[in-house]
């Protein structure tokens, strides 16, 4: 495979997605408004320690924003009739999956960095050198991982975006309740903890807890490794499904 064409295809796909899908209403609703509402629903009127829960909220915001673009792209393109044409360009399914993931990760990165900056202004964090080194990795891996999840959710899609947005909501909502955001990981035991360990979001929440001075429950290296492993699994699965379903609904 020609690496030059692959890199070019990934970048062109990401640019296309950024130009078209960042401005779509479902991305705003599911990527920005929803996590904001969840934050207010959880914190307002309760005597909670914001510093303790902030890493979880940051992870939740990143999770929602990074995974909001991916579910939209493929069904929207199939509905508009541009997906088949896209396949006739010098791209293939892995290139499209990577390009869509890059676009989702870019959106998540921008928003999560804004939230991080706002948090840093409101409550200065105490960070170790290791944490400072880990933070960029957590942002990059977290965004790539959840953007890939978004693309995976849309990979079996036909030409009806609302079906996939519903599926995406069904998958994403339970994840925030089993990932140590609202109930700290250290307080979980037995089956609840086992289930929690199956969620990729758990490792991002724990990683942010390490990096922002709250102390994590899982080794930081394992958090990073698991995020990487989930990213690879999501990308490979999305690629596998999309190869089989690329012409569905065309």
């Amino acid at each position: 495979m020609n690496l030059r064409i692959v890199v070019r295809g990934v970048m062109a796909t990401a640019v296309k997605d950024i130009k078209i899908y960042y401005k779509k209403p479902p991305v705003f609703i599911f990527g920005l408004i929803l996590p904001t509402f969840l934050f207010f629903a959880f914190f307002v009127g309760r005597q909670l320690d914001l510093e303790k829960y902030y890493p979880g909220f940051l992870a939740m915001a990143l999770f929602f924003t990074a995974s909001s673009v991916g579910p939209l792209i493929i069904p929207w393109e199939k509905q508009a009739g541009t997906f088949e044409r896209l396949l006739s360009l010098p791209v293939n399914i892995p290139i499209l999956v990577l390009g869509d993931t890059m676009a989702g990760a870019g959106f998540g990165l921008i928003i999560s960095l804004v939230i991080f900056a706002a948090g840093a202004l409101l409550m200065p964090f105490t960070m170790t050198l290791v944490a400072i080194a880990a933070l960029p990795l957590l942002f990059i891996l977290g965004n790539l991982c959840f953007a890939a999840l978004g693309v995976l959710l849309s990979s079996p899609a036909g030409p009806v975006p609302s079906n996939i947005m519903m599926l995406a909501a069904l998958v994403r909502f339970p994840l925030i309740f089993i990932s140590g955001i609202f109930v700290p990981l250290a307080e979980m035991t037995g089956t609840a903890r086992t289930i929690t360990m199956l969620s990729p979001l758990t490792y991002l929440v724990d990683g942010f807890n390490h990096a922002l001075g709250n102390g994590g429950d899982i080794p930081l290296a394992l958090d990073l490794l698991m995020l990487m492993a989930f990213t690879v699994v999501f990308l490979l699965t999305a690629n596998y499904i999309l190869k089989r379903k690329s012409l569905k609904g065309l």
Binding site: I5, M11, A12, K16, K19, G81, E84, R85, L247
Partner: protein, 323 residues
């Protein structure tokens, strides 16, 4: 059997003589249904090639396999000598595709669409900008270049679609019913542009229902029915294949009975009143017979035309035969 490479030692000649498109034994199954069955043909460089067939004949599936959207179950495709199976990205770089519906991004402007497609083909920013501006002018969209596509008519969208397909100056261009349902102006503009590109050396594959258009534009046509090739030749030769479909049309000065003209050289007579059409494999002999009846009956001929079968006649006959 031992095969010989006749181009050995003459690589330049091999490139010159290499066909632009080579389809070998293309077969595609959807479950039990064989949509395309062992389709093979070559399109030489610079040829305007038509792919005709009734709805559901397998044209779109064949095109999808040729442009790399669908993988054949059997067989192979090469574009400019590059295997679509082994090097799909390199093969796709050499082709442009114009689908039936103007499939462009409605949220982008016409210029942004063209430049986006140019990006996929690796054009530099400057080249993208220059070519997009030039193409939009040429396609009559200069004044609307920075308007969003969602506000465009179907014909305008299709013109943008063509711009997107040719911004990288492809060596091979696939058009899937590009003028279907368009206004006369847009249709003419598209046909002129594609014709101009063909004259400049671009190989064109046109899928259409418009037989008259195919007959006028194509150097060679391939008729597909039930997933199989039923005819492949120049429009003229295909028409002449159906000798029995040639006819002589005569208008007399008064009403004549068809039965008077029965002869071995006339296979069938159609018509009513004073205008009759005689189907024959030998127009000369048929005219002799018509003249004989004219003299016997004291008729006067007002007009006489010999008619060759049109490509449409051939198409109907071939697709009816396979039905």
């Amino acid at each position: 059997m031992k095969s010989f490479n006749i181009y050995r030692g003459h690589p330049k000649l091999a490139v010159e003589l290499m066909p632009a498109i080579e389809a070998n034994g293309l077969t595609k199954l959807f479950g039990e249904f064989k949509a395309v069955d062992d389709v093979s043909f070559e399109v030489p460089k610079g040829q305007f090639f038509g792919l005709l067939g009734p709805n559901g004949a397998g044209k779109t599936t064949t095109i999808r396999m040729m442009i790399g959207v669908l993988r054949p179950d059997q067989g192979s495709v090469s574009i400019m000598g590059i295997s679509m199976d082994k090097e799909p990205l390199l093969a796709k770089e050499r082709l442009g595709v114009i689908p039936e519906v103007g499939n462009v991004y409605p949220d982008l402007t016409a210029r942004e669409n063209l430049e986006l497609f140019g990006r996929f083909y690796g054009l530099t920013k400057r080249t993208r900008e220059e070519r997009a501006s030039a193409l939009l002018e040429e396609l009559g969209l200069g004044a609307r270049a920075d308007d969003k596509i969602k506000r465009f008519s179907k014909g305008m969208k299709q013109r943008v679609s063509i711009g997107c397909a040719i911004i990288h100056q492809p060596q091979v261009l696939f058009l899937d019913e590009p003028t279907e349902g368009l206004d006369v102006q847009s249709r003419r503009m598209i046909v002129e542009k594609v014709n101009k590109m063909n004259k400049a050396g671009c190989t064109v594959v046109l899928t259409t229902h418009n037989i008259e258009e195919a007959s006028r534009l194509c150097h060679r046509v391939c008729i597909i029915n039930h997933g199989k090739i039923v005819a492949l030749d120049t429009p003229e030769r295909l028409s002449s294949t159906f000798e029995g479909a040639r006819s002589v049309e005569v208008t007399f000065d008064r009403v004549v009975d068809c039965g008077l003209f029965s002869a071995q050289c006339i296979s069938r007579t159609e018509g009513e009143g004073n205008k009759l059409r005689f189907y024959t494999s030998d127009p000369d002999e048929a005219i002799d017979r018509i003249m004989q009846v004219r003299d016997e009956m004291g008729l006067t001929i007002i007009s006489l035309n010999t008619l060759a079968p049109s490509l449409e006649d051939v198409f109907v006959k071939l697709t009816e035969m396979g039905a």
